[in-house]
Structure formats: C-alpha cells, structure tokens
Amino acid sequence: MHQRLLPFAVAFVLAGCGNPTADGPKGPTALRKVAPNELRAPSDFASIEDTRERSRALFLEASRVFTHPRCVNCHPNGDIPHQGMNMQLHDPPSVRGPDNHGVVGMECTSCHQDKNQELSRVPGAPHWALAPIEMAWVGKSPRQICEQIKDPKRNGGKALAAIVEHNAHDALVGWGWHPGADREPVPGTQEQFGAIVAAWAESGAECPAEGARP
C-alpha cells in the first residue's frame, strides 16, 4: 500500500475496531454525504452544537483540500518538490534552493508561467514556488497542519484573518481548483473552501485530534 494512504487506513481500522475516535467530530456519518470532488458548506456543520467540536469538524473538512496531493506536492518536507497524484519526486530534477524558488538555471519560473500552458501541459500560476520548509505538509496529519497554519512562526507571520484571506483569494492557492490538463482538482471551489476556513476561524480555530481524519 502506498505510504501516503497508510495513516488513513490505520485510522479506518481503529475506528472499525470500536476504538474511540478521541475528540474528533462525533458521528461524522451524521454529516451530509458528498462526492469526493465536493466540499461541504459551513451550514452542513450547524447541527454540531458544541462550538469547539464544530470548529474541529470544519477543519477536518478543510483538510480534504490541505492534504490533497495537488496542494501537498509543493509543501514538501525535504528539498525536492513532488508531483502527480502519486506524489512522485519532481522530474526534471529540481531543488528548493535558498529562497524556495529553485536554483540558478533551474528556477521554478524557468519553466512555470503565470498560468497553465495548454499545449505543453506545464502547470502555472502567479508566484509559482515551494512553500517554505516550516510549512511542510508532506506526511503531516490534519492536526499537525492545523497547528502549523495557526503558528505565526511557521505561517509567514500571518494572523488568523490573513490566513482566511490567503486561502480564500490567493491565486497560487486557487490553482488547486484549476490545475489544467488532465490533473485532478482539489474538492469544491476556492470560494467554498474560503467559507469553510472562515467558519473554522470564527468558531475558535480549534484543531482536530491527532488521529482524526475527514
């Protein structure tokens, strides 16, 4: 089994054994069923009365985007970007470089343009670059990503409002929904994602339990 899937499989088996799902959202089955390419709306979480619990559930919903290969690939935990749904290492071989934009001769923007290139299939968006290493998401759980996102030391010094704004409107973030060619987009729309992240922030920006998965 692919390594990336392993933690999910483990969580699934544990849940199947009747193990407590810690303080994860109670009865995720109570949430409206959605297709893998859909995102739920904040209103879908209104039935969770406990605010902190609702906040955790909202983050888990957002983590369906955060942990998608389309997003994670450029948040590597090493010095090489990933690519594809199988998260293989970037080919041609490229490295992070001193400022996350590659090295001389192999800058990200030596090849990636400000938008997807249709004929060559090279993906592109404004400011194409790797996320800094302190924002590494590869191999991270939703809780770990949640804590990283809230930590100004690891989020580029952003306050919560700026995080919401960034997720809702940043053009490079938005590429995830418009990846071009035959690439699978992340679920929902950027607008829906922005609404989920905003509702999470408004409800206290709680982080889900370590074992919790969407």
Partner: protein, 155 residues
C-alpha cells in the same frame, strides 16, 4: 498584439500572438535558429535562453512574458563566440551531435554569473534540466570548471 523585446541588445517589435512560445518568435520570426526545439514541454533544456539574465525555457514561455524585457540567445552571448564557456567548449571538444549544446551553454553562463566558482553539486543542480542524449555530461562539467578557472576534474 505587438510585443517589444530587446533581443541580443537590439530592440525588436513583433506582431505576433502574445501566447506564441518565445522559441517560435526567436526561430521562425526572427530567424535566430541557434536556440533548439527539443521537447516543447520544458523537459530537455534545448531551448534555454536568458530573460533579463534569468534562465527560461523558451518553448513554454509565452512571448508576452518577454514584452518590455531583454532576451539573450546563444547568438548574443558573446561577440565572436568568445565567452569563456564557448572557448572551453571548443578546447575540450564538448559536443557530440551538438543539439543540446546551445541550451547547456546558456544555463552554464547563468550559473557562472551567479556563482563564479560553483561546486560539482551546484553544477549538477543547475544543469539538471539540460539533457544530453549523447551523454556528454562529464565533458560539460569539465568545461564549466575550466571556464570558471578551476581544475577540470574527470571527464
């Protein structure tokens, strides 16, 4: 749309589709055929040129990106082909078929400008996007080292 580009020091105005790849504009419109078409997908490096000194793959760069900027191709790297890299290339007989070499030299030139004495790792990282189907890599690295005034090393 008309696009204004300073190509090898000369101001050019092109009346072309802004999405036309820069490589097409250079080769088919301006007749600068030193820059090669290999893959057309940013995978081989044969089409490497400089845009304001930065390495870009001309095959995937829309010509609009170069509007108002300076492009340098292999023809404009040095008058008379006298760039230290070009001299080293000739002295060591680097090319086999030669198809990749304009791209190799353009990437190497950007590397040496940024890092006059690159380590072997730095050479490998910067040159990683320039493929050579003839496998001239050891001579390419030796010529870069020679041009940088360092011992050539193995080739």
């Amino acid at each position: 749309m008309s696009v204004r580009i300073r190509v090898n020091g000369v101001e050019k105005t092109l009346d072309v589709d802004p999405e036309m790849p820069l490589l097409w504009a250079l080769r088919d419109v301006l007749g600068l055929t030193g820059t090669k078409y290999g893959c057309g997908q940013a995978l081989c490096g044969a089409c490497t040129v400089h845009l304001d000194g930065q390495v870009v793959r001309a095959c995937v760069t829309p010509v609009r990106r170069a509007d108002g900027h300076a492009v340098t191709t292999i023809e404009g790297l040095a008058p008379e082909g006298s760039h230290p890299l070009q001299r080293a290339w000739v002295e060591l007989g680097v090319p086999q078929c030669g198809f990749c070499q304009a791209g190799q030299i353009m990437t190497a030139a950007a590397l040496l400008k940024a890092k006059p004495k690159p380590s072997d790792d730095e050479i490998d990282q910067s040159m990683a996007g320039n493929l050579c189907r003839c496998g001239a890599y050891p001579r390419i690295r030796a010529a870069i080292r020679k041009a940088a005034g360092m011992p050539e090393g193995e080739r």
